[in-house]
Structure formats: structure tokens, C-alpha cells
Symmetry: D2
């Protein structure tokens, strides 16, 4: 059986494991007050081109989103997001549990449009009853999106400008950021993101570490008193150095880029095979998640030898299916899958 | 200037004021432990045909919705509501502030459809990832809706059945319930509502009292420990008897019905005038709120002599306008408005 | 039967009722956007000597405390309060329900001591683990306290200085403020309070109105976006003018002062009688709540003709009892009570 | 430099690392739906003597406490805990952030007393105003406590009985449970705990794993819908098998017991040395945390060669100091420390 369900089916890149093993019995202070964490932060600041940025390490994506969003919003504010946003759909209400509304806007292949964000904010303050409504206090985007799609630099510049004109922060969920940065077609760099977003996170869980997400706030004043907030949200790892060691490894010798490139190359190879064999893409994803419409009989046949996810309910004759590659995907498995198509 | 902005522009019905005045210097225990409150509860139980019902008095609508919904939901659950629901749009995030998501469904003239509620719940539990999503823990409807429309008895029966099959409560926001019950076309009675809903409130603020909403739970076990929850939500009035006195008055000698009938009669007179004069209704409301499309020049002309609300942003040539009557509306004002059309 | 249980057993001062009645059928905009509310705010600003102050009207004490405290605190902060503070004991966890810890300090006849507040804050930041603890983000005091006692001007100056040095706001719960200001021994004026506190409320519910509390923030920037927060907390009254009319009446022709003085005069008359008849005071309250130790047989005898509250559990031979007067207490009832002692 | 600051200064026991490494590139489903997690749960059920127990794996202690306590409490309830409880002092308000009050009782060397818990509950419901107060909805204890002390079996039986008579759950924070079970003097076994508590967690972070806590609910109905609650609290690890693998290792071949015994043996050796050299114990801890009063000059001298924590502020001439051993402590380091005393 070969697996294309998700990008978190394996542990960590062997180099990460090697570093965790070789430092295992060292003794350091807890909660991130260790030299590994300090070095990892420095490497990330450098990669982002933001020497003054605050960098915080948390364990997982949902807790990162809830903690950052809670930190960015005032009590009366909510977060604008696409209706397909992970925070709106698949986090069990973690944002609302912190008291904040997720205000949804239409999604376009998983993306928000700057003009629609702008129109929402403008209309909001034009409404005479706006003080009875939840104020749009920030914008959440994911990059890549839940559909694997990417913002172009122009789109990101536009969103950033709209947010800055409205004096609200732009936050990017980068759970799969490595796969976005490595996409051959993208013109968005990590430095662009750091320049255009007020906060974002660089996902480790899906891109090479056992777990861990690195929150970056280019202007640290955007996330004041963030340490106690991390603790309050139960997101503070006692052995914080485990996060430092893993991210130090990712950001050494270009490992993060290489892991991203590997997964994307295999995903695009798979996409090409689908197209060549005449299957219809559900949408054109340039990253490690591929969505394709398959006849139900093809699905049943493939399921004998491979695992993958149905995307939504099974249709009458065909169904959208998601195939995911990762840093750990073996090319042989991709080739096998292609041979089965 | 004549006013049709809202149904809470005046104080209370004179009989309510008279009773408040004549009991003013009596001394009673606080927090609803007084004979007026006891009698009011008994009158409401009787009107609902539910001798065993729990009745609780709160001050305003938003706090009532937040307290009841918080009381009905488990931590991991959210409330299903139409996208136009008051709790979704105009309560400043009060529901989310208690930690719960408002899960929106399409609205049909302000109403939910039972089959869409059923489909949502069915699809939810068919989704393999449902434990990562907010479980639909109850259904919220308003009757009349925010658009003045009413559920038919069949529609309400259907919604109730869907909820009971799914083992989740059906809750009705009755801020304007008196205007719904008094609508000539309705076949839904207060007893029907008490039979079909698991909790609902009978609104006083908009139908004759200074303030106050009466929450009814036909089966008291549905809202266990509700008294401390009312207190925790800041919704417990120290001089609770003020609520008792007002609702006792409303439910004596059919006052509540008469107040409702008055407002609806005038609203329908106004609607008929709009139609006769050739204006297009935005939708066909059988209650005290009327929505009509008016040319902008007509709006500007009327605004010289009357106040009312634009419903949404002003259009290029015409705009939807809301006119509201209440228990206190003077027929002469309606006639004046009609003469201006 | 004569009653000394609480200071919210009656309705409102007759002048308040008269004004509510005479304005009852006027039509005004809702939510406090009416001329009565505007005038009441102006009168309060003037009484406080703070022409630039923000004034907000809410319905009850618990909701006022929860809304203001939520508005003053950052997510990671808690509120310092005496262990006997109303917010710590008798609000059903309303503060915690907004996500904030009540951090308790020892009480001294219901009061906090400035030096103990200062020591707490100093020790807090000396603790190496302070970022794992709830930061003291504000100080809550009540004046009069839950024991009827009052801060002296020196004590209040000290608390204010400690707070300002620590850059945290001082908030006063003035549920019974009228009875504090009217105490013959006090040297604290409303202007002092407005000068020394960052937020406070002037209680109406217990001092002459049907309900209502007036929040004052001398510097409006201390409570930014407070209107949507009031709405979110379910504390926004639809017919906001009811609050405006009541407070306008209280602050016209010195009514608030007269109501306070009446209750305090009768309470002190009662206290003097207790002392003269040889009963031991539990503590020496200069306001409208009197606490006295009575032999159980005396309690049983009095209970035949008067109602009052046991303060804590009944003792073996004697018990602390609370007697409360109010703006509405009849001198004849006090004389009757005295004759029974 | 030798280190006795905390029990989370190293990574994981080498056997844990070995298992993580050797399974690293296997592909499994996420979120705990993997065979390692299933086996770990089975091993824990067996160790607890509770074949029907629910077992859930979370990442860290604060998130575990917040999630379990939120899951056990109704909205109007709070958690009873010793004033020194970790949830009251060192979790940045994580419990209050979920809306629940921590109700504190006196601590006796870190422990609650059953009779004091009982008295609190009895007095609570005797208070006529109890519905205005936060209901005691559960009891939190830690074992070992924050002071390293242990409940005796009698004490635990008494607490359990008090809770069961009051129909509220007893929850044990077992962050250092392994060190408690391994203490030579204890008569409390894991099976006793599972029999007497309604929920508890077996801590991994401080006893041999990189991270991870195993929540056990002997009666699964006590924590209904706990999976979405874990997700909502941001406590669900994507690669859940990492927790399964680690706990499977701990509960294989008695590793957990051996790790506990190692740390306790060295801690008691250290305690004996303190006593023999004439130092005064702050209290008599039978587990891996030792608290001793040291003259300040001794502290300064030791600090040249060892790290440890001052317990509270430095005194004028002597200060309480904490020394902690762990599964990873080298006997040579303990001997060195003893030689320095």
C-alpha cells in the first residue's frame, strides 16, 4: 500500500532526528531559554530579512492560530477569513473558544480577494449599526491555501495595502509554507511575506519536523505579552529546545527549501500524469496537494493499492480526490501511483 | 415628524407604567423572589399550556440569546442559524464571546428550512473529519424573523422533528413574538411554540414593556442551573419584580394579544397602501416590519416628514426601506405617512 | 413586618417614576442616542469635574463590573481585589467567564491596603516565573465596601499612586457610592474619585433608580471601543433613554445627595441605638449597611417583626446580622426597630 | 556545572529516542489513529486495572489541565484546588481563560484536606446566596504536589469519598506521578488512583518522554466528546503516534517504574546528606523535589558549581532552595553536590 493521505504521516527528516538524538542528554533551561532556540530564532530572522522580528515557537497549527489571533484582536473584534479557511472549518471552534468571531468572505480557490476585503471593511463602517456588529480586526489567509493554491506577489501586496489602510494586521497561516515557497511558479519569497504580513507562521509539522510552528512578528509590538499568552493557551512546550533544535536544523544548509522542493516536484509530476491520462483537475494547484476528479470506479480500483482522501462527499459517478506529497514521499511511490492511473 | 424607525421608541404601555407606579414603594425580596414574578410565571405557563415549564425573566434580547445558547450548548458545540440571524449579525459577537460558533445556513426571507438543517446535520456526521469541526448543538430561529416573516405550523413542525431526531434543542428568539402571534395569516399559536420548541423567549421590550424577555423551557431539565448562569452573564435584575410586574400585566386581560394586533393591523394597512400606490415590496411581511423598495427621490421626500431605516446601503435609483409599527403607533401617524406616499 | 434586608427592595424614587411616566410616550432613538441620555452624561461629567469624561449607562452591577474589567484588561492580565470583593464572591464567576482571573489580596474591613497592593506587584515582577503567572492588570475596589466601610482620601490617594506608578488602572465599584459620599465622616468627594480612579461607576440600582449604573472614565481612551463591548456583554439597553432619564433626575437638584444622606442618617441612628443598648458592632460602618453581633434569642425575637440578613452562618450563641437602610427607608420603621431592640 | 533546576532539562530516555528513530519513516494516520497509540492505551488501561477506561494523549501539562477541567465542569462551576496548586499559580490563567474560577482552599504542604473540602461544599450550599456564587464543580489535586509531597491512601480514599458524596469528580494532576508511585514510603498505587479518581493524567514530560501526558478517565462518560475538546484547546498533536510510541515505551518492561525509582533514590540520597550535614529541610518530601533552607552564603558558594532554584524570594540570612532530580540525573552529579555541601 502506498500513501498520499496527508503530509504528516511520517516523523521528521532524518537530519532532525539526528540532531535531537545527539543533543538528547544535554541539559538546558526550559521554555525556550536555551541556545538552540536562540540560534533558530536568529536563523529565521535572517531568512526573513527582519533582524528585529519577534520569533516564537509553538507546537501545532490550531493552537498557533488561536494564540496569535487572540493576541492580535481586541475583545470586540473578529477575524476576516475565507469561508474555506482552516480556522473556520477544521479547528473545532478554537477561535470562537477564545471569544472571537470568524467573519467569512467568499473564497476563490481558497483565496481571499483584496477588493472584497476592502469592500467588506468599507461597507462595515458605512453601516449605521456597525457598533452592534463584530468589527473586522484582522485578516487571516493561508499560503498555500487549504486547496494548495498560492497568492501572487501582486495579490499579497494588495491585501497588505488594504489591511494597512484599514489599520488592521494581516496574518498568514503558513502550515505548508515550505511547499508554497518551493513552487516553481511563485514569485512570493519569505522576505516578501515578512515585509507584507504583520504576523505569520512557518510550519514545521508538515515540512520536516516532528512538530512545531514558528510564529514571526516582524514588528514585535504587534504581539505584546505574547509569552504569557502562549502559556495561557497551553501552547508552551516545557522542553522548548526541541523546537529550537528542529527549526535550527530546518534553516541550516537550506534544508527547508530542499524539503519543499522535493514534495512539490513529485506533486507536479503526479499532476502532469493526471492531465496526460485525461483526468480533469478540480483546480490547478502548484503545490504539494493535488485535487483531481476521478470516476468512482477508478477510485475504487486505486484504493486497492493506495490511500488518499475523498474531498467532500462521494459523487454519483465521479468524486474529487486529494493526493498529498511531502518531504518524505518516495519517488518510487509516485511512479507506482502513476502506473496505476 | 412621525417615526417608523423601530418598535422600541416609546417607554411601556400605560397600564404597565400604572402597575409599576402603584407598586413602586412596596418592599419585596430581590432577584425574582417576589409574588409578582411568581404570578407572572404562572400566567405564562398557562398561556403556553405548559404547567411544568421553567420561566426565567431577563432584561434584554442579546443577553437572553447569549445566556440561553450558552446554557443549551456543550463546550464543543455551536448553534445553527440563518445567515441573517440577529445572533449572527447584530449582537456584537455575544455568542462567540461565550465560546460558541454561530454556524450559518442560507436564509429564505429570514427563515431556515428544515430540510437544509437536516442535510447539514447529516452531512456533518458523514464527514470523516467531523470531530475537527464544530458540532451542530442546537438550532436558533427567530419568529417573526429579522425580515418580519413567519414560520408556518408545518415548517415549525418539520424543524422540531428534525431537531428531535438529531437530539438537539430548537430555540426560538421571540423578540417580536407578540407581532407574530397576532398576524392574521398565521396558524402558529403560543401553545404550538411551547410544544415544538425546547426553549424560546417571549419578548417584552418590543411589545409593551420598558424592557424584559421571558424565557420559557417547557422541560426545565433542558436549562439546568440556569439561575447562576443568568447571574454569571450579568443578566439578573436586582429588582426582579419589575420584570414580574410587567409580564403579569402583559398576560392579564389579553393585553399582549391586543398590543400585537394593534401594531400588525397598522403595518398591514401601510403595506396595502404601498401596494396600492404601486410600490414594490422587498418581501411580503405579515407582521409589524414592512420592507419596500422606494425610489431614492421618494425616500428623500418622505424623510422630510418621517423617520425610517434604510435597509442596507442606498442603491443607485431605489433602496430598500424598513417601516416599523409597534403597540404604541398612532393610527393618525400611519394615515399621515400613507398620505405622503 | 418591617424590612432591612437590602437597599433594593423598593422601586425608584417617586421623582424618577414621575419623569419616566411623563416622558413615557415620547419617541426617541434607541441605545442611548437620545437627549435625556446626553443631558444625564453632561450632568455627571459636571458633578465629577471632568468635562472630557466618557460616561456609559449600563443596567446592573455584575454586568457593569464584567464589562468594565474586560475592557480594561489585556488577555494575559487579571484583576487585583480584596478576598471579600463582590466580584470575587457574589457574581457567579462573571469575571472569570470573560477569561480573567480575580487575584485576591487580604481584606481589612473590606478594604485593600495600598502597601499590600504595591508589595504584590513588586513581588510579582521579582518572581523569575512571573510570565507563567497572571499579571496584575488593574485594581478593583468598592466604595463603600461590601462591609459598608469607606476609604479615606489618603488611602485613596495612596492606592491611586500605587496604580499609576505600576501603570495599571484603578477601578471603583460604586454600587452604593451615594451612601459613601453622604457619610458624615468621609473626606472623599465625587470629584476626588474622578481624579483618582481611571474608571468607576455611580450606582443607581441601590440609590434611587429602578436600575442602572453610570460608568465614568475620566480619560475616555482608557475604555476604547466600549460601546460594542457593552453590546457584546448583553448590557446595552434598547430603550437607553430610561437610563438617561433616571440619571438626569438623580443629578438634578441634588437628589442623589439627598437620597444618600437620608439612608445614612437612618443607618447611623440605628447604629447609635445598637451601641446604646449594649450590642457589639461587628465593625464600625459609617454608611447604610450596619453589622452587629446579636444573641441568637434576640435575633429570633426580632425576626417576628422585622426582616434582615444573617451575615454568614448562625453562631452557637450569637450571630452577625446586617441591617440595611436605603433612600426609601421610613424613619418610622427605624424607630420601630429601635423600640424592639 | 551540575544541574538540579527542574526535571525537564534533558530530552527523553534513550529507549524512547530509539523507538522514535526506528519508527520515524513509517507512515501512519494522524491524530492518534495509529497502532502505536492503540497499544499504548491498552498498556495504560492494563497498568491502571481499568479495561474500560478512556485514555487520551495530550502534549503538555497546562493544556491538559485546561482541557480536562473545561471538560469536567458545567458553565456555572469552578474547580476547588489548594492555593498552591499549579493551576492557580503557574498556568498564566489558563483555567480562567476557559471561563472557570479556581476556588482556593488552604494547602497543607501542598495538599488539600478532605474535611476542608467537605466543609467548603457543605457551607456553600448552606449559604442562602449560593446561586450567586461559583459552584464547586470538581476537585483538583496534584500527586506529588508542587512541594513533592504525597497523599496517603487514606487521604486519597477520604477525598474520593467526599467528592462522590457531593457528586463531583476528583481529578489528579500527575505531572510527576512516576516519582510519586516510586517513592518508598507510599502506599498509593496506580490502580488505587484509577479506582479513586474520576480523571487523572500520567505525566510523560517530566518522567522520560520528550513531551506528552496521558489522560485517563476510568469511566469514559465522565469526559464526553473529549476529542473535539482536545482539538478546540489546540492540544491535538497531528502526528499523534509520537505520543503513542513514547507511552508504549514507558509502559513496556517497567520502564516508567524504573525511571521513577532512579530519580527518587537519588533525591532521597540528597535529602539524607542535607540532614546529616545539619541543614534544615523546609518540608519532608519523599519524592524527586527536595526543599531545604540554606544560609545565603552556602547558596552563593554552591551556585559556583551547581544550578538550582530559589523557592520564593531570597531571605535575609537564609533562603528556601529546591533541588530536583529526574530519570536522567547522574549519580555522580548527586555525589558531587553532596561533596560541596
Amino acid at each position: 500500500m502506498i500513501h498520499f493521505d496527508t503530509d504528516y504521516m511520517e516523523g521528521a527528516h532524518p537530519e532532525v532526528i539526528r540532531r535531537l538524538t545527539e543533543t538528547n542528554l544535554e541539559q538546558t533551561a526550559g521554555y525556550g531559554n536555551d541556545p538552540y532556540t536562540a540560534r533558530a530564532k536568529e536563523l529565521i530572522r535572517k531568512a526573513c530579512g527582519q533582524p528585529g522580528a519577534a520569533v516564537h515557537f509553538l507546537v501545532g497549527g490550531t493552537q498557533t492560530n488561536a494564540t496569535v489571533i487572540d493576541g492580535l484582536l481586541a475583545h470586540h473584534e473578529g477575524v476576516l477569513a475565507a469561508e474555506t479557511a482552516h480556522i473556520n472549518v477544521h479547528e473545532s471552534g478554537a477561535i470562537e473558544a477564545t471569544g472571537h468571531k470568524v467573519i467569512t468572505l467568499p473564497q476563490h480557490e481558497g483565496k481571499l480577494r483584496a477588493n472584497e476585503v476592502k469592500a467588506y471593511i468599507t461597507d462595515f463602517y458605512r453601516d449605521e449599526t456597525y457598533e452592534h456588529m463584530v468589527a473586522p480586526g484582522m485578516v487571516y489567509i493561508s499560503h498555500p491555501t487549504e486547496y494548495g493554491t498560492l497568492y501572487t506577489l501582486d495579490e499579497l501586496e494588495d491585501l497588505s495595502r488594504v489591511c494597512r489602510e484599514a489599520h488592521i494586521p494581516l496574518y498568514m497561516d503558513g502550515a505548508r509554507l515550505g511547499y508554497g515557497l518551493a513552487s516553481p511558479g511563485t514569485n512570493v519569497t519569505l522576505k516578501d511575506i515578512a515585509r507584507l504580513c504583520d504576523a505569520f507562521y512557518i510550519g514545521g509539522t508538515k515540512v520536516g519536523t516532528l512538530f512545531g510552528e514558528a510564529v514571526v512578528a516582524p514588528d514585535p509590538k504587534r504581539l505584546p505579552h505574547f509569552f504569557p499568552l502562549i502559556k495561557q493557551h497551553g501552547a508552551l512546550l516545557a522542553k522548548g529546545r526541541l523546537l529550537g533544535i528542529q527549526f535550527e536544523t530546518l534553516f541550516t544548509d537550506g534544508l527547508y527549501e530542499r524539503l519543499g522542493a522535493h514534495a512539490v516536484r513529485l506533486a507536479l509530476k503526479l499532476k502532469q500524469a493526471f492531465v496526460q491520462k485525461g483526468y480533469r483537475l478540480h483546480l490547478d494547484s502548484p503545490t504539494n496537494q493535488q485535487f483531481v476528479c476521478l470516476p468512482n470506479e477508478t477510485i475504487d480500483r486505486l484504493a486497492q493499492e493506495a490511500t488518499f482522501e475523498l474531498w467532500g462527499p462521494r459523487g454519483e459517478t465521479e468524486t474529487v480526490v486529494r493526493f498529498v506529497t511531502s518531504w518524505a514521499t518516495r519517488e518510487a511511490d509516485v511512479d507506482t501511483l502513476i502506473s496505476l492511473l
